[in-house]
Symmetry: C2
């Protein structure tokens, strides 16, 4: 707990009024970057602490989701606890919250009130649909951002099969909104820093348009030509063979064999050199026209091997491919370990756990040093943090 | 072109040595936030300008992907052009690049060299696998980050069906890495700002661990219990009924009807009130045990209606649901228009085009004012930018 690595946001003070994923993910990134993050939880703790598996009541995910944060508990229904929150915000550079749009205003803590207490406070807000607009008050259930933002339509096989388009498998819309909020809040802090006249900003980030921001050229193409991008499943229509193929162990192997040279190496490696010489497959256009025959030949071969074995054979032939890594693959892969993407960390509440690295690395800082401490129990830092706020202490705090 | 909205990164100067998606997306976000971004392209332009549709040779996507940037062209094989680049970097706060790991060093422009020219320069680097480690030199083809980072394994139906797990449909690993790089670069600029002693940092971001960062509690759960999260398709195993259902027009409707009260409203709305009263379905546990029967009844109803009509009926019954928005749905939705998520913008190269909003909004700034100009032609700002760099001009430039 006594590491002092040279992290870029050391000295920046953030208060999180977050629950579940989006705001807590934003502040976890800011905490990984070195900021002091005080997570304000209701007396029972952020309900995300009840998600997934736990050891003696301590949520496993929270070891990561709450790492590098200080936790305090407040009951915002009580005036004295709202006053305590305002005292915390007076010494902070930024607030990050993800209540429903308008909730802070309803409890008397809207941006106007907070800026009276601290005119330089940056206020980052995350909601389902944004702080204004016709859908503002609709409930933002989990998959809505993915569906409305246009992603779920694409993560699908063409046409209506007996299998519906799968969910992304992670809380992608919350994650994206959290990342945008973190980025925008640091940007606003950059603006305020070193300018004594600067005022704090209010930042409005929402789940739906965070997803929608990834739609590449699809919106201008729709506007100019009326084109509506349709799902392509695992294949790429304009490059063949590129697809994901079934293997003998029930796993899948993604293969990108669409350049002329790679295609020849691929067909030799799977024992079908005669197809590499077939003039119908001599160039990408011909391969796209006859893609079903190619995909069938490749799948006939992959079905005979476990995915890892097929991957090894194709890698030796310099054919770009990858099995679809599951968590066991990630956790045991030599590159993941070498890079510190997977680290063994001691958690006082859980024992030894595996943590993922921060998703950015800085010169002179080891990944391990960016995990200063693991997710704490709810309210673990009440005494220290409230005492410092009462003293008007402005130095950043560490446990 | 004369807007001067109060954007947080106004005054920050970025040079982009980017191509395709990851680095250019990072700098587009920084440019949306108000930074001056000088995009350095090879004489023929970033090859991404050849992707997708175009109007008279001008790529449609680039109107968005290059917006708010200045474009200059340099041939980094020529010593005099490398000198020009160094002159640009002397007046810059940060560089963002996504060459293959080690390429900058090979052309004599590694971080040590650049920091001799400008000790305060923040250098953001994006690569497939990171700047070090056993896989550093592997080619990073498009889907690798998605597959190796663990996402593609989850975006799938359970078991091995005749349909392979679909691609995410967008360049998700490039996007995530770009977002993390933007966030980390601004953080390093925050550190440097106002501290005359501060040195520029080197930031190392990669595609694979950017995706891996979204894997929630899966890594610690694997480490503690050996659990490997498996794909769940469109359903959520622990909450029923929650799934995506086929509609009469070939589209899909996502429905989350898993609370006891919402479930009753859902079954009444689809004309099956007797199922709402069936004791087998009285609570979530019973519904999960009998989910196939529920899903069949719901799909029998959705198959009789177009997705938009089924959505309207269920929304009136206060059942959370969403059709899977395609680009036509997004572009014409009243909330998207009201919020400015979809905007009509005049592009000198293309005419009137639709642009998506920046994925963050700041008090006092309209979404429209964050699109200061559209993606320019390659080299459009050579004269202005090189002249300013030669003069040692440090004021931010606008076209």
């Amino acid at each position: 707990m006594t590491h002092a690595p040279n992290l870029p946001l050391a000295g920046l003070k953030i208060v999180e009024l977050g629950h579940y994923i989006a705001a807590p993910f934003a502040t976890r990134l800011l905490a990984d970057l070195g900021a002091e993050v005080v997570k304000v939880e209701p007396p029972g703790g952020d309900p995300v602490r009840g998600w997934g598996s736990s050891v003696e009541g301590n949520a496993v995910w929270f070891s990561v989701h709450g790492r590098n944060k200080l936790s305090v508990t407040l009951d915002l229904k009580k005036p004295e606890d709202r006053d305590r929150l305002v005292a915390l915000l007076k010494r902070a550079d930024a607030l990050v919250e993800n209540f429903r749009a308008g909730y802070l205003e309803r409890i008397g803590l809207g941006p106007d009130v907070l800026h009276q207490a601290n005119p330089r406070l940056v206020i980052g807000r995350i909601s389902g649909y944004g702080q204004e607009g016709p859908y503002r008050d609709k409930p933002a259930f989990g998959a809505i951002g993915e569906a409305m933002g246009g992603l779920r339509h694409l993560t699908a096989n063409p046409g209506q099969t007996e299998y519906p388009p799968p969910r992304c498998g992670v809380s992608i819309s919350d994650d994206l909104a959290g990342m945008y909020c973190a980025m925008a809040v640091v940007s606003a802090c950059w603006q305020v820093k070193g300018d004594p006249q600067a005022k704090g900003r209010v930042v409005d980030v929402d789940l739906v348009s965070s997803v929608f921001s990834l739609m590449e050229g699809m919106l201008p193409e729709y506007g100019l030509f009326g084109w509506v991008r349709q799902p392509q499943g695992a294949a790429i229509k304009t490059a063949a063979p590129t697809n994901t193929y079934p293997c003998a162990d029930g796993k899948w192997l993604c293969i990108a064999g669409n350049s002329d040279l790679i295609f020849k190496r691929l067909m030799a490696a799977i024992g079908r050199p005669e197809m590499a010489g077939d003039p119908r497959f001599a160039n990408n256009a011909g391969r796209c026209d006859n893609v079903a025959e190619l995909d069938a030949a490749i799948a006939d071969w992959t079905r005979t091997k476990p995915a890892a074995e097929a991957e090894t054979i194709l890698e030796a032939a310099e054919v770009p491919c990858s099995r679809l890594f599951d968590m066991a693959d990630c956790a045991t892969d030599p590159h993941f370990r070498d890079r510190g993407w997977v680290m063994e960390v001691q958690d006082p509440l859980l024992g030894q756990v595996l943590h993922p690295a921060a998703p950015f690395r800085f010169d002179g800082v080891a990944p391990r040093d960016m995990v200063r401490w693991t997710g704490p129990a709810a309210g673990a830092h009440n005494e220290m943090v409230f005492a410092a706020a009462a003293r008007g202490e402005s130095r950043p705090l560490t446990p």
